[in-house]
Amino acid sequence: MKEIIKVTRRQFVKIAGYTVGAALYSWNFAKFTYAAVKDNIATRQESVYVQDTKMKVRKSQDSPAVKKIYKDFLHEPCGHMSHHLLHTHYVDRSARVKQLKAKGLKLKV
């Protein structure tokens, strides 16, 4: 008896997992809990769309601050100033992962 009670937390989780697991499997319980998390995401998303409709201006090109910065500083979209400050280039980072894979690391991609 003593020995059965003396399980570590990790072992307990395992045992509980296997026994309760069988019971829950057919009820599609798993999907149910994940759905709860997704609803939280939807709640934040809905709040964003509500706020969008409350904004005085809803299109970037109509923004007073945008008009001002292009007039005074940037001059035009994708112009010289924009290319200097607002655009970038990308780096090929594949080599290091290729090396790790060659050494036996398994990834999903």
């Binding site: 934040r44 400050l85 090929d92």
Partner: protein, 417 residues
């Protein structure tokens, strides 16, 4: 090391040159219960059993991880920690009377920041956020939503230039705001880099604009300006440290923190968030539109860009700015938008990085019909970013969730085997 809004966080502010060798996200081997839940949320497979079997998980190598933090916000046991934090450095900058500290909060932050102060999930707290930043001692309250609008001007124009052949770059054009997606592309699909918009992300733009245009407008000395990026995202810490992000002649972004860390700073400073008045940001780099605030949702960048491109191409006013066809909750959403004087614009919105892989393969093979593709690493977009306050049920029902995760995992393994 300290606990910031339920996430263990190391007090480590690396220099740009070290960013590629730092674990922004890592597993505490002593806390991992081996449930495998984290693996379900990782697009690259970076997080995996250390010994290759079924033991405690670990992030295999910084190069394999895109720093999205989705594993962290979904671990039922709080076993995953953050390895980088600029909180101490920012508190010091705020104390220094010589330093001009400016705030740059992302759109999604204001939809999560209320939660640590007891507001219901998703409550919009933008006005209180600006007030709190002023109270913390930020000298200028600039807003990343302003440069989200600038991003639309730049990225929308770039798309039109690709469509008309004015620039010789391939279609489809991919969005470039999400740093998890960008690191993923650079690591696993570098051959598609020409398809990705050359536009920096909104924060990549606000950093250098703060130290140039912002310095001009406020008459501050650019070398005294300290820019603080406040993000719903852990991957933005890596983006802020990219060595090339120095076009202002200084470090464009001096520090990056998450929504959770901002909540921690507000609490630590003893500010009573709920009693704050609603305030506005400072106009020149703070004023923004509805098109900017929707950047926080999957489909938002697409919708904002379409509100612009439609009017430029057709020369007509877009009467109803709601373009619900591109709003996305999860997975892949495709839409055909008829734009007068152009025809059918084929667009696609990818929410959740793993969902991008089939689309990327199509583009690689030259079989994609799309003109414009948005990719967000986090399911639902930045509002669900890895730097947002944790949803209460992630840890609450941890035993049940862990059991479910185990069942799912065994089920998946059987399917694979």
């Amino acid at each position: 090391m300290r606990v910031i809004e339920n996430v263990v966080t190391l007090s480590n502010a690396p220099i740009p040159q070290d960013a590629d060798n730092v674990y922004f996200i890592q597993v505490d081997q002593t806390k991992c219960e081996e449930c495998g839940e984290c693996e379900n949320h990782c697009a690259t497979g970076a997080i995996q059993p250390k010994d290759g079997n079924d033991g405690p998980r670990t992030v295999a190598d910084p190069a394999t991880c895109v720093n999205c933090g989705q594993c962290l916000v979904n671990c039922p046991y709080g076993a995953i920690y953050e390895g980088v934090s600029f909180v101490d450095e920012i508190f010091n900058a705020l104390k220094d009377p010589d330093t001009v500290v400016v705030s740059m909060p992302a759109p999604a932050v204001r939809y999560g920041l209320g939660e640590p102060f007891g507001y219901p999930i998703g409550t919009y707290v933008g006005g209180k956020m600006f007030a709190a930043l002023r109270k913390l001692g930020f000298d200028y309250i600039w807003d990343n939503q302003m440069t989200a609008d600038v991003t639309i001007m730049e990225e929308g124009t770039e798309l039109l230039h690709r469509l008309t052949g004015k620039i010789k770059k391939p279609l489809p054009q991919f969005t470039s705001c999400c740093p998890g997606w960008i690191k993923f592309m650079e690591t696993f699909y570098p051959e598609l880099s020409e398809n990705v918009s050359t536009c920096k992300s909104p924060i990549g733009m606000l950093g250098p604009l703060s130290k140039t245009y912002g310095a001009e407008v406020t008459k501050a000395r650019p070398e005294k300006i300290y820019t603080v990026s406040i993000m719903p995202c852990v991957a933005k810490k890596y983006e802020g440290l990219r060595t090339e992000m120095s076009d202002s002649g200084f470090r464009d972004i001096d520090a990056t923190i998450t929504t959770r860390e901002l909540a921690y700073m507000i609490k630590k400073a003893g500010i009573d968030f709920k009693s704050l008045p609603d305030e506005e940001p400072d106009f020149d780099l703070g004023d923004s539109t509805g098109a900017a605030t929707i950047f926080g949702n999957s489909g938002g960048v697409m919708e904002a860009a379409l509100r612009y491109a439609y009017e430029v191409v057709s020369g007509k006013k877009l009467n109803d700015p709601d373009i619900k066809a591109v709003r996305s909750h999860k997975g892949v959403k495709a839409a055909t938008i008829n734009v007068p004087k152009f025809g059918d614009l084929e667009v696609c919105v990818v929410s959740g990085l793993a969902n991008a892989i089939p689309i990327l393969e199509e583009v690689k093979q030259g079989k994609s019909k799309y003109h414009f593709i948005e990719v967000m690493t986090c399911p639902g977009g930045c509002v669900n970013g890895g730097g947002q306050p944790l949803f209460p049920d992630v840890r609450e029902a941890s035993l049940l969730r862990s059991i479910i995760a185990r069942i799912n995992r065994r089920f998946n393994m059987r399917k694979m085997g």
